[in-house]
């Protein structure tokens, strides 16, 4: 068995998928934590928003104080603090061999789907409406994308999602061809390029 086949096999395994899920959820948790602390500091200091913050390349404190950053009336990052630990627990259990029921996995898929939608909505809002970007928010967008890819992979592999038969078999073909890997890498690279083109050197200045 050559290296590619071995790699392909490994990519379909529980160990790999749950490990990816664990790392992505962990990264997201760290980022959410930093953003939550920032939000509290910002709330405590009414002057914090009265300037152009260099480290966040924010267009001038706009992200943290925008309504988009507090969609539900509290900082969005708090949602991450609630959800990510649950996903980490699921990943650890899965990694160590727990079999989840189909219903449970559908629930997990639903949660990450909502997280993904929310993360990209925020990404678009901050890039094109607020016109600002913060590295930690970007980290959340990234890891949520990876998380979604891993869980979807798992659920397609196990045929958990009650998809129409044609779609299910098409998706399985994608997985067999590792097409999902190409799409994910392409997508992430495209996002990095987009961010660099738009914000360039300012991001790390």
């Amino acid at each position: 068995m050559n290296l590619f086949d071995r790699f392909h096999r490994f990519r379909q395994s529980d160990a790999w998928l749950y490990a990816v899920m664990m790392i992505a959820a962990g990264a997201s948790l760290v980022a959410s934590f930093v953003l939550s602390v920032d939000a509290i500091v910002l709330a405590a200091d009414p002057n914090a928003g009265l300037g152009c913050n260099i480290n966040q390349v924010i267009s001038c404190g706009a992200v943290g104080t925008s309504w988009q950053a507090n969609l539900l009336g509290f900082p969005n990052a708090f949602l991450g603090l609630m959800i990510e630990p649950v996903l980490i627990a699921v990943a650890i259990a899965g990694f160590s061999g727990t079999r989840f029921t189909q219903g449970f996995m559908i629930g997990v898929q639903g949660i990450v789907l909502i997280s993904l939608g929310f993360a990209y909505w925020l990404f678009l809002q901050s890039s094109f409406v607020i016109g600002a970007l913060c590295p930690w928010c970007l980290a959340v967008t990234f890891s949520t994308t990876v998380l979604f890819a891993a869980i979807t992979h798992l659920n397609i592999r196990d045929d958990n999602l009650f998809l129409p038969r044609k779609l299910q078999s098409a998706m399985e073909t994608w997985l067999r061809l590792d097409l999902d890997l190409l799409v994910l890498i392409g997508w992430l690279v495209a996002m990095v390029v987009l961010v660099f083109v738009k914000y360039g050197a300012a991001l790390f200045a």
Partner: protein, 256 residues
């Protein structure tokens, strides 16, 4: 894949063999496609890494290419200075022309700053930065405006503060294209800068100076704009928007 054959329950060894062979062929074909896709994924990743390295090397090159230049009223630490260099108080102003709060600060304090400089009570050191270049839809307004200011400071230092304020009058909003080169020239002309000086704005010959101002500010730990230092100590970030507060603080500092 179903093994049922239309020809009945009895498995026909010949067709079974054929089916197995077909399946093997399909698997081999898939393995081939998979390999191509894996290579493509690797390629995309590799290109991205190479692109990142090239970008990093290029921006490093730009960093070392910036040679310090110091002349006239221009301080070697990449600031432009107004007022008596022997004045008892030094006021440092870190700013970016795309930063709305810097405009707010100038609108509140411009007259006081001018008076303090003229009276010889304070030396005003402007640090025109360009970290908000990304917020002008690619026109690099922060650099263009700051370059114009440094050019004026070098050629006609007495017009510097007035031009600084002119740039903040009707300040363009963030994430717009900022003022055009022609508009910057117009504002310079309105405060009495000579045509000869204005003509050199578009050469951007002080863009490196502005880059260095920005780097020096980062190195000094400046975290946001506007940051105001009085004799090196940060001035209350809220009071800077209160009329007269800065002036009082400077006068208090002058008394020692």
């Amino acid at each position: 894949m179903s093994n049922k054959k239309p020809s009945g329950q009895q498995p026909d060894p010949a067709s079974r063999r054929q089916q197995l062979r077909l399946e093997q062929e399909r698997a081999a074909k898939e393995a081939k496609v998979r390999r191509i896709i894996s290579f493509a994924a690797l390629g995309v990743l590799g290109l991205a890494v190479i692109g990142g390295i090239v970008w990093a090397v290029m921006s490093m090159g730009a960093l070392t290419a910036n040679k310090p230049t110091a002349a006239g009223s221009v301080n070697a630490t990449y600031t432009v200075v107004a007022g008596d260099p022997k004045a008892p108080v030094v006021v440092d102003i870190y700013q970016d022309y795309m930063c709305p709060y810097c405009g707010e600060f100038d609108r509140v304090n411009a007259a006081d700053l001018e008076a303090l400089a003229t009276a010889g009570q304070a030396q005003i050191r402007l640090h025109p930065m360009n970290f908000l270049d990304g917020a002008s839809q690619g026109t690099k307004y922060s650099t263009r405006a700051a370059n114009a200011l440094v050019t004026v400071a070098k050629a006609e230092p007495d017009k510097m503060l007035a031009f600084n304020t002119a740039l903040y009058t009707d300040q363009p909003a963030e994430n717009t294209t900022g003022l055009s080169d022609a508009q910057i020239a117009e504002r310079a002309k309105a405060v009495g800068v000579s045509d000869a000086t204005i003509a050199t704005f578009t050469q951007l010959s002080n863009a490196d100076f502005v880059n260095n101002t920005t780097k020096a500010a980062f190195a000094d730990g400046i975290e946001s704009t506007p940051t105001i230092l009085i004799n090196g100590t940060a001035f209350n970030s809220k009071a800077i928007y209160t009329a007269g507060a800065l002036r009082q603080a400077v006068e208090a500092a002058a008394k020692g």
